[in-house]
Amino acid sequence: MQLEYAQVKKIIMLDTMSCFRRQRSFRWLAEEFEPLTLYSHEDGRRCPFFTEFLLAPQQSSRGRFYCGLYAGYDHARKEDWSEWVDWLFMKEQGVHALATVADLNGIQEIGVWLMLPYPPPGDYMYEQGKRPRRFNIQLHRLLALHDTIETVIERWSRFYARTPVRLRGFVWGRQGIPEADVEVVEMCNEWIASLGLERLWMANYRSNRVIEWRELHFSAIALFANYTGRSEYGKDWLYNTGKFAALNGMGIQVVNGRGVIYDPNHADLYLEMVKNISSREEEARSFTRFRIQRPLMCL
């Protein structure tokens, strides 16, 4: 059986909160979400576009980083993690705005995937006070994640239970999983699984432990080919990533980026790769990611 391209599950990844590099704050209002959730045919019919959204926090109002290697530049502390949770439940932006767009346009369900803040292992203070928590203690890293996830789930059930937005699951906050993260990832994912939620890893094609993604208790993984057109990774990486992902039941990241390492044609090649793989391989799934928040691709 061939998997129809239309059947491929597509998630769009959006940066949220502050970003110093682009000197802006991503609030995501309803009018910004609308062109991502619906598109218009030439005859005027409006059809669902993306129905799955991955929200990735960048920086807090204090300028501290939430995810990735950036979390090791100036890491987010407890007050920043709380700010992220609060951001998820602010009215007229983010998830709330998404729910509004779905309501207004009769979209029955929109899935939301939340990228978790990353607690970098090492001598990073998370919370001061009588019982300080530091990320050089594995238990403290795990507790920070547990507390935050619990708060999100509790508030989600109060705020969004009667809306079309559904919390699909959580996304690990780093592309790589070094040795120090393995236990925390396994335990955190196991716990999220027990709550009936998905666990997604946005990895690179050649990231360490990619092939062990199931052992790490992820329920899904999406690979980035590292092809951008202006770096040393050629088109062969793009196609090999597609084949590898298809053979191993993985998703792929489709990037539409701007900046010094991106050439203007890379997005077309990504689309071509997705179409080739999804039409040939039963198991292929695609997670779509825009590096910048411009829906330049039509799927």
Binding site: R21, Y73, E179, R206, E232, V260, I261
Partner: protein, 331 residues
């Protein structure tokens, strides 16, 4: 200053520099893509080339100084350096050994001949020369850790600074009380047997053990902390007997107050501080030097104390970090 060290750790030195730079009020971050049995702690961000590359654009915006190590860059063709420079950021290359140890020149130079040196771990000569040409075309300044490497880099860059290997003097210190061992303990901890002369060291110590009783401990493929804890128990530490300049093991040994044996090429030794207490030995002299040290406990104790003072004077990471800041200020 916001400083990014990349892309790998070198014997725990990058982590130490980052810690000291942070203590001086700078924001210092280090990437490491080298993961091995040494099992470095989490001072640096352990990652891989792919993840590092994906941060490049943000890193270029965020950091003021890009401090590359060991001739490695994120792109194989090394052009990420040009992109960083193009963005108006400062860049320095820190050469560490095999990336600049030009095989032909390692053996013979204007003022030296070293028949012992092993260059099989070095990059091919043409590649070293090509890399040096490329780097020095784009960078004015390089850092090296000693005079041996200085000579390789000096012909290329406008400025070459010698930055001694940093060590945490407070953490790596002699034991408070040391009960004498029944037999002296000699430790050798190679990361590369051929480079350090391990086969000769084993052969010579075996011969010597037939005459004088002592323990010989060979530490290989063990985490750095295990090596350090064994070195704390040692009486004599043999670093290497080939290269001609002392390395990390010697510095750690001196900081621990141990007697250190390491081959110092005569022309390099002449440029080092006169008080250097390292006992120089190569495969032709190791037997005699080691025998002398094994038979003279007072000499070992004296050299150990001198070694500690030398490490405090020349390798204290706090001092080295300040030297590094002054280098950054010239970029």
């Amino acid at each position: 200053m916001k400083i990014l060290h990349l892309p790998l750790e070198v014997g725990g030195q990058i982590a130490e520099l980052c810690l000291q730079l942070r203590a001086l009020g700078h924001q210092a971050v280090g990437y490491n893509w080298r993961h091995n049995y040494l099992k470095y702690d989490n001072t640096l961000l352990h990652s891989d080339a792919y993840e590092m590359l994906n941060t490049l654009e943000t890193a270029i915006t965020y950091f003021d100084i890009f401090h590359y190590h060991t001739g490695y860059t994120l792109f194989k063709d090394k052009t990420d350096i040009e992109r960083v420079i193009h963005a108006g950021k400062k860049v320095v290359m820190h050469h560490r050994g095999n990336d600049v140890r030009i095989p032909s020149r390692a053996v013979k130079g204007q003022h030296y001949f070293n028949p012992y040196v092993y260059t099989g771990d070095s990059l091919p000569e043409q590649q070293i020369l090509s890399n040096l040409s490329y780097f020095s075309k784009h960078l004015n300044t390089a850092i090296v850790q000693d005079y041996e490497l200085y000579d390789y880099a000096a012909d290329y860059y406008r400025n070459v600074h010698i930055l001694p290997r940093p060590i945490n003097i407070e953490r790596i210190r002699p034991q408070e009380t040391t009960a004498p061992h029944d037999l002296p303990i000699v430790v050798h901890a190679p990361t590369s047997r051929a480079f350090k002369g391990t086969e000769d060291i084993i052969r010579i110590t075996e011969k010597l053990r037939r005459e004088i009783p002592f323990h010989f401990i060979l530490l290989e493929k063990v985490p750095r902390e295990t090596t350090l804890s064994c070195m704390r128990e040692a009486d004599i530490i043999v670093d290497q007997i080939n290269c001609g300049m002392y390395g990390n093991v010697s510095v750690e040994g001196m900081a621990l107050g141990k007697t250190v044996v390491c081959y110092l090429r005569p022309d390099i030794k002449a440029r080092l501080p006169k008080e250097i207490p390292i006992v120089s030995a190569n495969r032709d002299t190791l037997y005699d030097e080691l025998k002398r040290l094994l038979l003279d406990e007072d000499l070992r104790r004296r050299l150990g104390k001198q070694g500690r003072l030398y490490a405090e004077a020349w390798h204290d990471a706090k001092v080295v970090a300040k030297q590094l800041i002054s280098i950054y200020e010239t970029l």
